[in-house]
């Protein structure tokens, strides 16, 4: 296996660009440290970071590096480029929400770590090799652990980082151990090689243990039940832009990975999650996790009085819906899962943006801080209403179509499996959305119905926050009304790499 460094640099050019940007941000911030005001340092660092991401997007769209490194270490094709563009856009959004990051004086490091996290996520999306996948996951996770604890003076931020780190470290160990078992059975560390190696493989205990352990590791990343315990605390304690990054960027990367891994590597040991005809394998495992996530996430969210915790449990529930896409749809699953994760990420980013603005002015993210938001900032409340209704899955917003698409995918006949095989999972999913309507509506009731506190100030977001909230809201409405705007390019990309239906 001859490694051609020029080719590697070419395939990872966008990532390299982002790393250079991160280093540049650090250097410039070091230079400005003594001379400039904190505000200026912040705007320079954020501006530089956002520019780097924007250049990365342009590069991916224009130069379009294509090909793959030996062993599937780095894969760059239309599909991974599309996902990377989404990840970069979400990173820019995170930077946009960080305009008020008064929680830390170390803005240079903050922006640099965000960018490195972005690099990790892009690498997750751009590999078909479990070794590289693990490294990329670790890069992304370590960045997020650091970011979660960035508000050093806030004990809750510390708690969030520690919990996230401990759970994450454990999950990573499981993942690595599990992958080694699967490697032992299949004899390959490439996704496709694994798939070939597992063809016709019986479900021996070693493989089953390996699959379960992989599921534990990945389940942690996507915050699926029962590996979700870190999520509420991390979301609540972490600085809000970081929580947005965890909810948006890392979810897209992780779900894309899960979908690809399921299709390329584990399809041969998929088993069946059909009602009454379970066959042990990957999909019934995922189905159980999906069902548990939808149930636990939605029911636990009912009891929340803090908007960030509510969004955390809603994220758990959404992970369940996205995993329904992994269970069903066969070769269409990459399309459904990516569509779901990407649209969810955009919605969550906007919602966290609103939460961050309210938090900065009202001093917290409890329901009471949101009381009468529609009177204090009508535009912000309208955007929040649209974003939350999209999370709830109300047409014509994109959250509805995403759910519809996932459920439809699950009811598509695949192989010997009839159209009704997964109706139990779909029915459960739709039933739990009814539960979710209650807490989403209750949140909106606080915003639109309750009266604002007497001494409340008007709430006005900064430029970056406005931009993120407006853009995400517009996207939610636009793609919701015309899903083909995103579905078209996605399916075209999938078809070009031979993963289309």
């Amino acid at each position: 296996m001859v490694v051609n460094y020029a080719q590697l640099a070419w395939l990872a050019s966008a990532e390299v660009l982002l790393v250079i940007t991160a280093l540049a941000v650090l250097a410039v911030d070091l230079k400005l440290r003594s001379s400039a005001t904190p505000e200026r340092r912040r705007s320079v660092a954020l501006g530089l970071g956002a520019t780097g991401c924007a250049l990365g997007i342009v590069w991916l769209l224009v130069a379009a590096p294509d090909g793959s490194a030996p062993g599937g270490m780095l894969v760059s094709d239309a599909l991974t480029r599309l996902v990377k563009v989404i990840l970069l856009a979400l990173t820019v959004g995170t930077l946009g929400l960080s305009g008020r990051s008064t929680f830390t004086p170390h803005v240079g490091e903050y922006v640099a770590v965000i960018l490195l996290g972005g690099v990790g996520m892009m690498l997750i999306a751009g590999t078909e090799n479990v070794l590289m996948m693990f490294l990329a996951l670790e890069l992304a996770s370590l960045s997020l652990y650091i970011l979660a604890g960035f508000a050093k003076r806030d004990p809750r931020s510390m708690e969030a980082a520690l919990k996230y780190f401990l759970f994450g470290g454990m999950a990573a160990a499981f993942l690595l151990f599990g992958l080694s078992f699967v490697y032992g059975v299949s004899g390959s560390i490439e996704f496709r090689g694994m798939g070939a190696g597992l063809a016709g493989q019986k479900m021996i205990p070693l493989l089953l243990v390996g699959l379960v352990m992989v599921l534990v590791g990945l389940g942690f990343k996507v915050a699926a039940v029962p590996f979700h315990f870190w999520a509420p605390d991390a979301y609540e304690g972490a600085p809000t832009p970081v929580a947005a990054f965890i909810a948006a960027g890392s979810k897209v990367a992780a779900f894309f990975l899960v979908a690809k891994l399921s299709l390329l590597a584990f399809a041969q040991v998929g088993g069946s999650a059909a009602w009454g005809a379970f066959v042990p394998g990957w999909t019934p495992l995922v189905a159980v996790v999906a069902a548990a996530s939808m149930l636990v996430g939605n029911f636990a969210a009912l009891a929340q009085r803090n908007v960030k915790r509510l969004l955390a449990y809603s994220a758990v529930a959404h992970a369940g819906y996205a995993l329904v896409g992994v269970v069903g749809a066969g070769s269409g699953s990459v399309a459904t899962v990516t569509f779901y994760a990407a649209t969810y990420a955009v919605t969550a980013l906007g919602a966290f943006g609103v939460v961050g603005v309210v938090e900065a002015v009202a001093g917290g993210s409890d329901f009471s801080h949101f009381a009468g938001l529609s009177r204090r900032s009508p535009g912000l409340a309208l955007a929040f209403g649209i974003l939350v209704l999209s999370l709830a899955g109300i047409p014509p917003l994109v959250g509805f179509f995403a759910k519809f698409y996932v459920f439809l995918g699950a009811l598509t006949p695949v192989g010997g499996q009839g159209p009704m095989a997964l109706l139990w999972l779909v029915g459960l999913g739709i039933a739990t959305t009814c539960v979710s309507f209650y807490y989403y509506l209750r949140l909106l009731k606080v915003v639109f119905v309750e009266d604002p506190p007497a001494d409340s100030r008007t709430i006005s977001p900064g430029v970056g926050e406005w931009a993120v909230v407006v853009v995400t809201t517009v996207l939610v409405v636009l793609v919701g009304c015309a899903p083909a705007l995103f579905l078209g390019p996605l399916q075209a990309a999938l078809a070009s790499v031979g993963l289309g239906r």
Binding site: P395, P396, L408, I430, K445, F448, P483, A484
Partner: protein
């Protein structure tokens, strides 16, 4: 093309009204009225242009999400026409009856018009995805209309209504997805799905799911309890819309998606559904008989009258269906009127709906116009000849008699009961035997504001419509019959054995 404009003008109106801002309620009201009137004009123009076509006339049809077989398919047959007309009439009269909304008026009318857009959309959608999207679009504004501007236990009533609606629509969604998957046609086109015959075994379990899911919104017993609470909690315009058109969405969905697509399931479950409907008619009428709150009486009367619609659907023969659709129209008009009188003309002036208090106020003397309108509306609601309710309920009873005589008898008892509770409430509110003025401290209306012009306009419009349909039902019946004779109902006609 006119029908498309009803949706467009309502959506544009909603946006425009919202942008007027909260400081200028007068401007918001006027713009909202203009949008609603424009919608009504387009509805009438569209209906007249359509006439009584044989089958479905497509207005707009284009691919929406081609890879999933989702289309934007706006079309209408005679049945849609009738209901679009109803939506137009109800929307205009609702705005006339809420002319006194001052608080956050721009949001109120924006949500109102959004709801109207959803309602028009449902009546004109012939793609299941699109149908469902509009159907849900109509639910969310209702929640806010009630929770923000409502009265008695508004937040509870709003949430209950929203959750019942969502549970119903969740059942429908499961059914819709299953229909798509089982049909294997890779399409949501209602015309094609209605033309195919799905496996009987599938229809037997999917039909009740879809039918009940929709019928929850139409007030099917025993899932009707959201209706009275929601109606009572709602502001006048919202309860007018709720009873006037939103409940019809449920019945309409049950007809289009339940009966048309799964006729064999409809036949299998006909007796059960008829029993539920007949129970609802009698039960709600009995409950209405003992209510102390004026609005609860009307709320339960709505459930009872909607029972006739559901009975007609359960019977599923020509007379039953024609009666059901006509009853949707008729009840939409009459219930809107009753809620308008109770909510706007009486409650906004007296600030009480307790019958025992209203008894002492001498309403007939102080608000003679309201008394007159309510008397006429009561007569219409009781189903006396000359008004639309008579024709509709007679049709349903006739249809039911052919298939389920027991249910028809029970519904007949319901008619008698409805006379009883309507007379009781009329007598206690407006025409007490001996008006003991200002008894028991209920009199916060020494000088009631006279009935305003918008109220009069709204009342006259609704009464006129009911009277016109009652005296000359031929036009609407022809439209409905032309719809029922169309190819969309071919499967149903074949299975039920009528033509």
């Amino acid at each position: 093309m006119f029908f498309l404009l009803t949706i467009v003008v309502s959506l544009a109106g909603a946006l425009g009204v919202y942008l007027v801002g909260s400081r200028r309620p007068e401007g918001a009201r006027r713009l909202a009225l203009a949008a609603a009137v424009a919608g009504l004009v387009f509805a009438v123009a569209g209906a007249v242009q359509l006439g009584a076509p044989k089958g479905l006339v497509t207005q707009v049809r284009m691919p929406w999400v081609p890879s999933l077989g989702i289309e934007f398919h706006l079309a209408a047959d005679g049945v849609s026409s009738v209901l679009v007309l109803l939506a137009g009439i109800a929307s205009v009269s609702g705005i006339l009856f809420s002319w006194n909304v001052e608080r956050r008026a721009n949001e109120f009318f924006a949500l109102y018009l959004l709801l109207i857009a959803g309602v028009y959309g449902v009546f004109l959608s012939f793609d299941l995805f699109q149908f469902f999207a509009f159907y849900e679009l109509a639910i969310v504004p209702k929640y806010f209309l009630i929770a923000i501007w409502g009265s008695t236990r508004r937040e509870y009533g709003a949430m209950k209504l929203a959750l019942y609606s969502f549970i119903g629509s969740a059942m429908v969604l499961v059914g819709v997805l299953a229909i798509y998957a089982v049909s294997g046609l890779h399409t949501f086109d209602l015309t094609r799905l209605a033309g195919t015959s799905l496996p009987i075994g599938f229809q037997v379990w999917a039909f009740p799911l879809v039918f009940v899911g929709f019928a929850i919104l139409a007030g099917l017993w025993p899932f009707h309890t959201w209706a009275p609470t929601g109606h009572v909690a709602a502001p006048t315009a919202a309860s007018m819309l709720l009873a006037g058109v939103v409940m019809k969405l449920g019945a309409y969905g049950a007809l289009r998606v339940g009966l048309m697509v799964m006729p064999a399931g409809a036949k299998y479950w006909g007796a059960t559904m008829a029993a539920l409907a007949a129970t609802g008619i009698v039960y709600a009428a009995l409950v209405a008989l003992v209510q102390q709150d004026f609005k609860f009486v009307i709320g339960y009367s709505s459930v009872s009258h909607m029972g006739f619609v559901l009975l007609g659907l359960a019977v599923a023969n020509r007379a039953g269906l024609a009666g059901a659709v006509l009853q949707m129209f008729s009840h939409g008009v009459i219930a809107g009127l009753l809620f308008g009188v109770v909510g706007r003309m009486v409650y906004d002036r007296t600030h009480t709906r307790e019958l025992s208090m209203l008894e002492g106020l001498g309403l007939a003397r102080r608000l003679p116009f309201a008394a007159g309108v309510f008397t006429l509306a009561s007569v219409a609601s009781m189903g006396l000849p000359g008004f639309s309710g008579f024709v509709a309920e007679l049709q349903v009873l006739g249809g039911a008699w052919q298939r389920f005589p027991v249910a028809a008898l029970a519904a007949g008892v319901g008619v008698v009961l409805s006379v009883a509770f309507t007379l009781r409430v009329l007598q206690r509110s407006f025409l007490p035997d001996a008006p003991t003025v200002a008894a028991a401290g209920g009199g916060s209306m020494e000088h009631p504001e006279p009935i305003t012009i918008p109220e009069k306009l709204g009342a006259v419009m609704l009464l006129g419509t009911s009277l016109a349909v009652g005296l000359y039902p031929r036009v609407l019946l022809e439209w409905i019959d032309s719809g029922l004779a169309g190819p969309l109902f071919g499967g149903l006609r074949r299975v039920m054995g009528w033509s």
